[in-house]
């Protein structure tokens, strides 16, 4: 046994690939049917394939090693392999049609989404009728997850619709008196929930890490969500769950990054993104969800502005969404709006790099031109915490 001298990290010996062709390549023309004539194929060429076992032939891992008759038995014609793949994926598409629809609903508008939903929705309707979605629902419940009711309408859309038509509901309730603020202490800190879409991913933990010990902040991020697509994720229903389970005194919301898209109303009317009707509907929906979080003044809510986006088109939407949420917050007892643009922009315009607290340049934005990088989140968090300090008169 010889100790290796080269202490550098080394992988195992690399594979020995197929030997170079010793003659003209075997021109099997059977394609998927497989079974080329063994006369056409030099035996040496087959050996590595037999030995490969899912990896390079000279370095099979314990799991994939073959080099035995069993390995040869494992090899099947391409047609059968394809049949297996197609059958499994096809069955999954049928048995998990609701999940397929859900995935499609979460996609950005475009050809992929249209094609997927165009195929998945009819499949879902049929599978629901003949109860083929039962096994998946049963499995989902068995693992402790909630199953979405089939075809249920979101409170977000219905309450906003009532508000639009002047009917009272969650949105139209008269402003209630604010619950007086208590004085949080280190022993009994202020319970803060930072929630929203992926904008909270870096911001929430940064608020948690930089807050004084009189504040205890938790973060719940729901990626790819917003207020325009309650069919994909229902923030109204989820806000009720959050309030019931977490009982926050202050809810900090950063949301809207995915909402630069049209809103489809319950009656099928589509409000194009950027239109005045779209902005008005967004304001109504924001009002609905704000009222759920604040319980009409029992809790406080701080809605953070969307930071400027690199894309001009998106930035235009963000300005409209900011105006809508600011207006919505003004009409909800306990809700307020914090405009972070002065600190997250250069003279109001998007900038990747900003000036940090120490006066040095910091990378404030992520590659996508929407999200905050860690240092950008620190800038935002500092002003959020200033707001909390002044509101709750924290030391």
């Amino acid at each position: 046994m010889t100790e290796r001298d080269d202490a550098v990290p080394t992988g195992p010996p690399a594979s020995a690939p197929d030997p170079p062709p010793a003659g003209p390549p075997p021109q099997t023309r059977r394609g998927l049917r497989g079974r080329p004539s063994t006369r056409d194929r030099p035996p040496t060429r087959d050996r590595p394939l037999d030995r490969s076992a899912g990896s390079a032939p000279a370095q099979p891992s314990p799991r994939h090693r073959a080099g035995s008759p069993r390995a040869a038995a494992d090899a099947v014609p391409a047609r059968r392999a394809l049949l297996l793949v197609v059958a499994v994926l096809g069955l999954l598409a049928v048995l998990r049609a609701p999940a397929m629809v859900h995935a499609g609903e979460g996609m950005r508008p475009g050809l992929t989404r249209t094609l997927l939903l165009g195929a998945a929705r009819p499949v879902e309707r049929v599978t629901h009728l003949v109860r083929l979605d039962t096994p998946d629902r049963w499995l989902t419940r068995a693992f402790g997850h909630r199953t979405a009711p089939h075809g249920g309408a979101s409170e977000l859309a219905t309450a906003a619709s009532h508000a639009a038509t002047g009917r009272t509901g969650t949105t139209g309730a008269p402003a209630a008196p604010l619950t007086p603020l208590r004085r949080p202490t280190a022993a009994d800190p202020l319970r803060v929930l930072v929630t929203g879409d992926s904008l909270t991913e870096s911001l929430g933990p940064t608020i948690t890490n930089t807050a004084p010990d009189t504040v205890r902040a938790q973060t719940e991020t729901r990626f790819g969500t917003g207020l325009v697509r309650p069919d994909f994720f229902d923030w109204a229903a989820h806000a009720r769950v959050q309030v019931a389970e977490r009982d926050p005194e202050l809810v900090i919301v950063a949301m809207g990054g995915n909402d630069g898209q049209g809103i489809t109303l319950a009656d099928g009317t589509v409000l194009p993104a950027g239109s005045a009707e779209w902005a008005a509907e967004y304001q109504r929906r924001a009002g609905v969800v704000m009222r759920i979080w604040t319980a009409d003044g029992a809790r406080r809510l701080l809605w953070l502005s969307l930071p400027p986006a690199r894309s001009d088109r998106l930035n235009g939407y963000f300005r409209q969404l900011n105006a809508a949420t600011e207006a919505a917050a003004a009409g909800v007892s306990g809700a307020s709006y914090l405009d972070l643009a002065p600190w997250l922009s250069k003279d109001g315009a998007y900038s990747d790099y900003l000036t940090g607290a120490d006066g040095q340049a910091v990378l404030a934005r992520s590659h996508d031109g929407v999200h905050l990088a860690l240092d950008g989140a620190r800038i935002a968090a500092a002003h959020v915490i200033d707001n909390i300090r002044s509101t709750w008169r924290l030391g």
Binding site: P12, D46, D74
Partner: protein
């Protein structure tokens, strides 16, 4: 496009069917698989397809020029081009900001504009493959391939985004002849893909979302117990996440008739750090060995130079993972630990390291394989020039494959107790350094280590399900080999119907475990 998505499933069904239909006609298959791979790559952002096309053309031109003129300057220019692309896209922002800060501190104006350069996904992987190609052509290991072959090699979609880093000498010969449509190793592919999904969706994502992310995001609000378990959890998460991607990539390639090298071999069972690096991200390790460490001189230029070479190689390996000081420190710590380990070993054996022939011990899997001996192939002696100029995959493989005596020094000298102590020590060192890998900055890493020993209190995040996921992730390394063999044999014996039913049921259970939650991106996508 990422693997566990509906888009990829649809893409793969079409590609697999068309690929096998066209396979007997390489003149049609190659022009098909190349745009298919570009489609896969450009699905999220089509602009970057131009980058991979440019990389292909530049490196192919360089390879032919190197082959024809045998001029090192052409090689140097090609390497500079590749590293320049990588440096611009991956490191410019980090470099410019670091310079800006240093000069601002000194009261000087910053000379570099601060730009946010978009990071093309997979650039580290395809650049490394291209580098290995031109260097191997220069070394005479690989002849220049036809442009279409090289383009397919660089862009072949199963390995394009996050490896394994496949060498030209491993892949190009597979393009020389059509893959055999009569012998598709479906069982192995199915086990790899299914196992990968379990590791990713059931283990890695659960551990991440329920424990690791909350703790690493806000260490100040978590107790020592939570932090300690989260550190173990991250070790399991990153292994399950990355090895899952590799397994799925290897399985998908198998379904198309191609073989990739393995990328992991039970890394947490390693009894030395050296052994760990032969079991973790193996295709990167061997790349660094052959194209960084050995050209630097390996261990042939004395003890101090060897140590320096190790430090350089590992620090660069750290930087490869990301433009951040945490990765640099992570790599440097591994380098320093490898140096320390090497010195301890030399002291223990009472001989200087350079006095011994440098023969690589086989990975465990390799030893177990009944690879026929190659008595005519000499062991690689790191003291010879040949090892740095011709570290071919084949030469290395042949040199090491037959070494039955290299069954692990640790086992011989250690005995079971010492062996387990070594395993635990290596595992804990690796876990501790993973903190740097995961933490967003050095301050957070420092806070985690400080609170690891000082923060009492309850540990509500350490739930039975999280602990079970961590335990399962760790014990996958202990599953006896014959269990896998037997399971695969049983699956192979089944007829098509039960195979379909079993796989469908398994997939449904996997996705039911996570519920309606999106699969998180693979960790190694950002590298």
């Amino acid at each position: 496009m990422i693997f566990p998505t509906i888009e990829f499933a649809a893409f793969f069904v079409v590609v697999m069917a068309t690929s096998w239909l066209l396979m007997p006609r390489p003149a049609l298959w190659k022009p098909f698989i190349l745009p298919a791979s570009y489609f896969f790559y450009g699905f999220a952002d089509a602009r970057f397809v131009l980058l991979i096309v440019a990389s292909t053309l530049i490196n192919q031109a360089a390879a032919w020029a190197i082959h024809r003129f045998r001029d090192r300057r052409i090689l140097a220019a090609a390497i500079a081009c590749d590293l320049g692309l990588l440096g611009w896209f991956k490191y410019y922002g980090f470099f410019a900001l670091s310079v800006d800060r240093a000069l601002t501190d000194a009261g000087l104006p910053a000379p570099l504009p601060l730009l946010q350069v978009a990071l093309p996904i997979g650039i580290s992987f395809f650049t490394f493959q291209a580098l290995s190609y031109v260097i191997d052509v220069h070394r005479g290991i690989t002849p220049p391939a036809p442009l279409l072959d090289f383009a397919v090699y660089e862009a072949f979609f199963p390995h394009l985004v996050a490896g394994p880093i496949v060498r030209a000498s491993e892949f190009l010969p597979q393009l020389a002849t059509p893959r055999d449509p009569a012998r598709v190793p479906t069982t192995r592919a199915a086990f790899l893909i299914l196992g990968g999904l379990i590791k990713k969706v059931v283990l890695a994502d659960v551990i991440a979302s329920r424990l690791v992310d909350p703790v690493f995001d806000a260490p100040g609000q978590h107790s020592s117990t939570e932090i300690g378990v989260a550190i173990y959890g991250y070790a399991v998460q990153i292994y399950c996440d990355f090895s899952a991607y590799s397994d799925i990539a290897i399985g998908i390639a198998l379904l198309l008739g191609f073989r990739f090298p393995d990328n992991f071999d039970r890394p947490y069972a390693a009894r030395s750090l050296q052994e760990f690096w032969r079991r973790w991200h193996m295709t990167l390790s061997r790349w660094l060995r052959d194209y960084v460490y050995l050209p630097l001189g390996g261990s042939r230029r004395g003890r101090r130079r060897t140590h320096l070479n190790l430090m350089i190689t590992m620090t660069l390996g750290g930087l490869w993972h990301g433009a951040s000081w945490t990765f640099v420190l992570w790599g440097a710590l591994h380098g320093a630990a490898l140096v320390t380990e090497r010195r301890l070993r030399a002291r223990r054996t009472g001989r200087t390291a350079t006095a011994r022939p440098a023969q690589m011990p086989l990975p465990r899997a390799e030893r177990a394989a009944d690879v026929p001996a190659q008595p005519n192939v000499p062991a690689i002696d790191s003291g010879t020039e040949a090892s740095s100029t011709a570290p071919t995959s084949r030469a290395v493989g042949l040199a090491t494959a037959p070494a039955p005596a290299a069954a692990g020094t640790a086992a011989r000298v250690a005995g079971p107790v010492r062996g387990w102590a070594a395993r635990l020590a290596v595992f804990h060192f690796v876990c501790a350094t993973w903190v740097l890998f995961r933490a967003p900055d050095l301050d957070t890493a420092g806070r985690l280590f400080a609170r690891l020993f000082t923060a009492g209190g309850p540990a509500p995040l350490v739930t039975p399900s999280v602990v079970a996921a961590i335990a399962v992730g760790l014990t996958t390394a202990a599953v006896p080999q014959h269990w896998w063999t037997r399971a695969q044999a049983r699956f192979t014996q089944m007829s098509l119907g039960p195979q379909i039913a079993l796989l469908t049921m398994a997939m449904m259970v996997i996705y039911a475990v996570v519920g309606q939650q999106d699969v998180a991106p693979f960790i190694y996508f950002r590298f």
